[in-house]
């Protein structure tokens, strides 16, 4: 199992255990491009545009609601098992989805990323807080997380050694290493970038039309 997959599996297990201990059936995790670490912990997704919400059950794969088809396509390509939907009114859709889970015990996190409508709106009395639960899990790292942290530290040391050298030789080496980094972007990632282009164009069309749409949600 790769480092990423191993860390993901450990996070998922720890989260399921913590949810069971706290009596949470479904955890709703919010995020956006500025604050995505809780979403990465809970569902291993990183939004780059708009709000994103993950519905985490104790057993089933996460259900995701995002705001654009490009985001939805990207997340599906990253994790085929995810149930990803998109809606221009993702907050409203999330509220509706929470309401449909009425008989289950729901909690939401993190306070730093939950939109006002969900944090303070009509459903607030029926949703429990889960920011502290996720904070506890995220502060203490699992063995796979520690291993990734160590690999990043090795890269920091190696990177600083590279950084310090070109200062002495006029910077030419610095430019070379930057060029080589760019050319080393994996082919799979370049393919994903290319695949976004048509979806992004479609999305732009949706947004241009949204003013005239009575209910622009598309599932």
């Amino acid at each position: 199992m790769s480092g990423i997959a191993s860390a993901r599996a450990e996070r998922r297990t720890r989260l399921a255990i913590a949810m069971a201990e706290e009596g949470i059936d479904v955890l709703v995790v919010a995020g956006n491009p500025w604050r995505s670490d809780y979403l990465r912990f809970a569902a291993d997704i990183t939004p780059v545009e708009g709000h994103a919400f993950a519905f985490i059950g104790r057993e089933a794969p996460a259900r995701i609601i995002v705001e654009s088809p490009a985001e939805a396509a990207r997340l599906r390509s990253e994790q085929a098992e995810l149930d990803v939907r998109w809606s221009l009114s993702a907050i409203e859709e999330t509220e509706t989805a929470i309401r449909e889970l009425a008989k289950q015990r729901i909690a939401i996190a993190p306070l730093a990323a939950v939109p006002y409508r969900l944090a303070m709106g009509r459903l607030v009395a029926s949703i429990g807080p889960a920011t502290a639960l996720l904070d506890r899990l995220m502060l203490r790292k699992s063995p796979s997380e520690i291993a990734a942290f160590r690999r990043a530290a090795v890269l920091a040391d190696e990177g600083y050694a590279v950084f310090a050298k070109p200062r002495a030789s006029g910077g030419r080496n610095m430019r070379s290493s930057r060029k080589s980094r760019l050319s080393s972007v994996p082919a799979a990632v370049r393919k994903i970038f290319r695949s976004w282009a048509p979806a992004a164009v479609k999305c732009a069309g949706c947004i241009r039309r949204r003013n005239g749409a009575s209910r622009p949600a598309t599932w």
Binding site: M138, L139, R140, F149, A156, A164
Partner: protein, 166 residues
Amino acid sequence: MHPPTERRLAPGDLVTTELTPCVDGYYAQICRTLVLGEPSEAQQRAYAVYDEALTAGIAAVRPGATAGDVARAQNEVFRRHGLGDYVTSEYTRVRGHGLGLYVDGRPALLEDVDLNLEPDMTLIVHPNTYHPEVGYFVHGDSVRVISDGCEVVTRTPRRLLSVPLA
């Protein structure tokens, strides 16, 4: 730290680096400062304060200590050297912070943060701040809290690096 300008690097300039790579989603960080050319006596004196503060901060990282204890250990060094004003919010932000899936995570290392440290928390300890004589200085290492203290995971030697100008 300052925005890019047309000014050319010159002997005696400090080059501050906060390098924060992310591997498999997890961040680590290293902070170092180097001098172009030979460091001045003032730069060496300043460096000694930051190194003493970093050493004190790292020594304070252990289970049961608070994030505030780690910040206080670093700040006390500056106060002893008559630099107490420069560890206030007027000149600097935090004395380190959590690392993980977020580059600037919890806990913030500030004197009023009472979160208890526990094994397997990961942090950067960095007494980065402005120095009135030589300018802004950064110096820090990534650490992991372990059962009897902490393990420093970045290995770059702690010294005031000096590199010649081309």
